[in-house]
């Protein structure tokens, strides 16, 4: 093997920095710089995943956020159109949740936040505007919780169809707990 150390004779010393047949070429500078930039980018993406818990759109929240499990809400027992229902949810950031609730055609209802209707202010009202054969209405519940973990009791109530002429909401009736 060639001895690459400089010889003791100063005037004939050859710097051992040039590539030789046995030494691979030096890594170009652009590779180091690019590697650092790409590494930082991957770190930033990874940190975003870890911090947010999921990958969602910015400025207004994502559909699935940290601590949320929308599937548990959707799989919760669908309330009868005449029975109110409780849905307990926990969220750490603004979230847009799809909640699927089967209702009779023509039914109307309110979704209340914090306290059960009719004492609390309704968060949103929904009506089933689909064709008479449709059986479901989708609600999108927007929680604005300021970045703090909140546990909220959500009361979902639905009134009977107009043709029945009855309002099923009652302050005296105990709401049915549907899911966590």
């Amino acid at each position: 093997m060639t001895d690459l150390r400089p010889s003791p004779t100063p005037s004939t010393t050859t710097p051992a920095t040039a590539p030789t047949e046995d030494r691979p070429p030096r890594t170009p500078r652009w590779v180091w710089l690019f590697g650092i930039v790409v590494g930082l980018f991957l770190l930033a993406v990874g940190a975003f995943f870890v911090v947010s818990g999921d990958h969602g759109a910015e400025a207004g929240g994502g559909v699935h956020g940290a601590g949320n499990d929308p599937s548990s809400v959707e799989r919760a027992t669908a309330p009868d159109v005449l029975s109110p229902a409780w849905l307990r949810v926990a969220t750490a950031r603004p979230t847009l949740w799809p909640i699927t609730v089967p209702v009779a055609p023509g039914a109307a209802g309110t979704l209340c936040f914090g306290v059960s209707c009719p004492d609390g202010e309704p968060l949103t009202e929904f009506t089933d505007t689909e064709a008479p054969a449709a059986r479901t209405s989708r609600l999108f519940l927007d929680f604005q919780v300021g970045g703090q973990v909140r546990t909220a009791d959500v009361t979902l109530e639905a009134s009977a169809p107009d043709r029945a002429g009855q309002d099923a909401r009652s302050a005296d009736r105990e709401p049915t707990r549907c899911g966590r």
Binding site: P24, P25, G35, H55, G60, G61, G62, V63
Partner: protein, 182 residues
């Protein structure tokens, strides 16, 4: 295994088409996102979100996967190899990461499009601007790497080159004595 020339050109055509198509689709997605954010018309905003939901599933994801797969085929079937040159390594890493992020992100876009289709006023729904711009930057970097192919061989590539050189030298040494004898 080196591909025949015709096959290599076909693979290259598919790779370039899908890569540039991916870039174009991201630009279109960005334009729709900006429209959804700045427009005051409810139906325009709704249409923009619906179009974004369609683009991500039927254009972006297929193009991304096609670009990744054809890129792998190109690497394996040409002298560039997989890990011989730094620009190829960087392209591979960035394409894999970008494709994974896109696949991970698409349900969010799809769900937001569903929301936009269902609610009365879709204005104010989340924007995807940051992600679109990030994707655009990554794809531009990939394009620049592919066109300029900056110099730089990895240690593995350098070893492979030396092996190839030694094989060629051995073949030349065998051939020359034969010629001299003739």
């Amino acid at each position: 295994m080196i591909m025949p020339t015709r096959l290599r050109k076909i693979a290259l055509t598919v790779h370039v088409t899908s890569s540039v198509g991916w870039l174009g689709a991201v630009v279109a997605f960005l334009a729709l996102d900006i429209t959804a954010q700045v427009s005051n018309d409810v139906e325009t905003v709704r249409a923009a979100y619906l179009a974004m939901g369609t683009i991500i599933w039927y254009v972006l994801i297929p193009f991304a996967i096609a670009a990744l797969l054809t890129g792998i085929v190109q690497s394996l079937g040409t002298v560039w190899g997989f890990f011989r040159h730094y620009w190829v390594v960087f392209k591979l890493v960035l394409t894999v990461v970008a494709t994974l992020l896109l696949v991970q992100y698409s349900p969010t876009v799809g769900d937001t499009a569903d929301v936009a289709a269902s609610i009365a006023d879709p204005r104010g729904l989340p924007s995807f601007f940051l992600h679109s711009v990030g994707a655009l930057v990554v794809l531009l970097v990939l394009t620049i790497l592919a066109v300029f192919k900056p110099r730089g061989t990895t240690r593995y590539g350098w070893r492979k080159q030396r092996e190839q050189q030694r094989r060629q030298d051995r073949r030349r040494k065998i051939t020359v004595p034969q010629m001299q004898q003739g």
